[in-house]
Amino acid sequence: MLFKKVALATAIGLVASNAMAECEIGARVSIVGNEFPAIQAVGSAAAECSGSEVKSNLTADHQKINVAGMSGNPAEYTSAIIANSSIVALMNEDVIRPLDDLVAKHGADLKKNQLITIDGKIMAVAFMANAQHLVYRKDVLEEIGVEPPTTYEEMLAAAEMIREKGIMDNPLGGAYAAGWNLAQEFNNMYIGMGGDFFKAGTAEVSINNEAGIAALEMMKSLSEYMNPDFLTHDSNATSAEWKAGNVAIMNMWGSRVGPLRETEGSSQEVVDNTMIAGPMTVGGGETPATTLWWDGWTVAKNISDEEAEATFIALNHAIRPDMLNEETSPMAVWLIDGYEPTPAATGVFDAANRGSVPYPMLPFQGLLHTSLGEELSDFMQGKEDAATALADVEAAYTAKAKEKGFL
């Protein structure tokens, strides 16, 4: 981590030193977003622009403040950096503007697949991608003599072998912490089982079906090979378990692979044997049991056209191809033209190439996610059966969706 931050600082220095004078803006720019290194790099690259002030407020709580911060007129923030899950909150409240004219004017360098288009209107520009995929210990799998699993069924079999041989008590890892993490794992598994979350074209939920039950049963079987405290292990805790050498196979975020390969807080043995592969499938399905994520920027609606243009220019400058260098490239899986995948990015690329689906960009997906997070933990503890848990989720979702006016 220390190394990474130093690297980041150097990177910013490098970028700043060869900054080109071409970025001239004529009005204020104010960015709100998450605080991880890749977004910080984008924020500081945007700040290279001269002519007016570029402010950025990068914080983990960005989702709680971005809607309020863009609702005023004029809005406090001219841009919010968001992901596909969180852009819907901004679209629901109608606080971001279509970017078609600005893309036509200034965005010649942007690739077609960077443009997030909804109903023919460009609403955001994506610059990085993420996905959960397989992470495994080469030495452990060699010891039991199996290939890295490509399906969850193989993962279970391998876990059983590792436990039988007495190599590890709880060989599987996973971010199964009750709440957001657990709900996300269900989403992955349900997608892998080929399920659809909603009845087409409506906000009516339908997850209490065979795919839903199969997904939950699979999660339950996996959890039996996990640390008994799995309901409190978020992705931070799961990574820590990995670094301590307690876990041999897990499904983990691509953005966390880099730190797993640093010796700081880990041991040489674990670092040398940490390998990644694409996401697994489940239940004989074709679609990998994972979701694809992008991070991108938007431009506020309630600001003057000058400010919108300045914001677009600054952020477009921040994600121009030559912002990529030795330091910034490993920070993320960039969607920017000219990006050469680093070894840590192969998992995410494999996920995209094998036809994984993006995390659904539905106005009411967030409500379902919260409901899943609340209601699934009873099932994981064996307090109720899968069908009851799913019925509870549906009921909780329906109450929330009625309140928000979706039903």
Binding site: Q63, K64, N84, S85, S86, V88, A89, M91, N92, D94, N113, Q114, L115, I116, T117, I118, D119, G120, A126, A129, A177, A178, G179, F198, A200, G201, T202, A203, P228, D229, L231, T232, W294, L335, A352, S356, V357, P358, M361, L362, P363, F364, Q365, G366, L367, H369, T370, E374, S377, D378, E384, T388, D392, A396, A399, K400, E403, K404, G405, F406
Partner: protein, 325 residues
């Protein structure tokens, strides 16, 4: 003053009575880095028209209070009708978020508050009997649990009770059960949260009672001694009546704070096993789509809950107040 006290209460109550408008949905094509797809989205123009007509939102009355996320009247009456016996009915209740949270909140409030008052009292009496020079040190260390940020205090303890942490290990050794994990079972998690609650709040009771002991009328104590009262009788008939008003004060503040238990649930990642009303509010506001009306309704319910809890104390204060006039 009034601005900051009355306005927020009014705004929260209003918010709980109104819900956002019906959203006009439509199916459109959605393209991104991973290809195009047909998805549902909100038709902003049509929804905006509804919003402009009634900016406060749709009047929902008490609907939100009665929906499944809150009092769940329909679900409860359904469970009552279809019950086979009482335990079946309570199981059905436990499956509803509001009642599940109330279950823990009330257990927490009514175990932690008396325990911390008793513990605080014993510490105060014990510290009071210490030698003068030791008192300062003892007071200083006794205050530690109260002055640390709850969120961080609970995180530290959470790390310690991990089955491989020092406390977790000590317990495994104590109960000779190497697989014991406090975090994996509901019962242990409740005990852990209650112990933490007592640990965190006992210093508050201690400080207040200790101060009360300083004003203990020495002559009463002495005369009781001459009358041959035992140590226990002294405490029972002289000390406790003397600090009774302080007990009321501590009970008032602590009932209120324990009813709003929140930080420890987050710090201990205990939401799978224990939730509280404040946690429900946090959860409603923390999601990708924030449920403001729902959070406001839960807040109003919390206030009502506190009012009911405190009503005996409040009635007493009112009587005191009338006497004084």
């Amino acid at each position: 003053m009034l601005l900051f006290i009355a306005l927020p209460i009014i705004s929260v109550v209003t918010q709980s009575l109104f819900t956002p408008h019906e959203q006009v949905l439509e199916v459109v094509e959605n393209c991104g880095p991973f290809g195009c797809k047909e998805t549902t989205t909100v038709n902003q123009e049509a929804t905006q028209k509804l919003r402009d007509a009634k900016p406060l939102g749709k009047f929902a009355g008490l609907d939100i209070y009665f929906d499944r996320g809150h009092l769940a009247v329909n679900e409860v009456s359904e469970a009552w009708k279809t019950r086979t016996d009482m335990s079946d009915f309570f199981n059905a209740l436990r499956n509803l978020p509001f009642y599940r949270a109330m279950g823990f909140t009330l257990t927490h409030t009514f175990t932690v508050t008396p325990l911390l008052i008793i513990l605080g009292f014993i510490i105060a009496v014990a510290v009071n009997s210490l030698h003068r020079h030791l008192k300062g040190l003892a007071i200083f260390f006794s205050l530690l649990p109260m002055i640390v940020t709850p969120l961080i205090g609970s995180l530290i303890l959470f790390w310690m009770v991990d089955s491989r942490g020092i406390v977790g290990n000590a317990l495994q050794w104590l109960f000779s059960d190497p697989t014991l994990s406090l975090k994996a079972s509901t019962g242990y998690t409740w005990i852990m949260l209650i112990v933490y609650g007592v640990w965190h709040s006992a210093p508050f009771a201690f400080v207040v009672f200790y101060a009360g002991l300083q004003t203990l009328p020495q002559d009463t104590l002495e005369s009781s001694m001459i009358d041959g009262a035992s140590r226990w009788q002294q405490i029972r008939y002289v000390v406790i009546p003397h600090i009774m008003p302080l007990v009321t004060f501590v009970a008032l503040i602590q009932l209120m704070d324990n009813f709003r238990v929140f930080e420890s649930i987050v710090g201990f990642s205990a939401q799978a096993h224990a939730t509280s009303l404040s946690w429900i509010i946090f959860n409603d506001l923390g999601g990708e789509t924030r449920a403001l009306s729902s959070a406001a309704a839960t807040s109003v319910l919390t206030i009502l809950g506190v009012a009911i809890l405190l009503s005996p104390v409040l009635v007493r204060t009112w009587q005191d107040f009338k006497v004084k006039q």
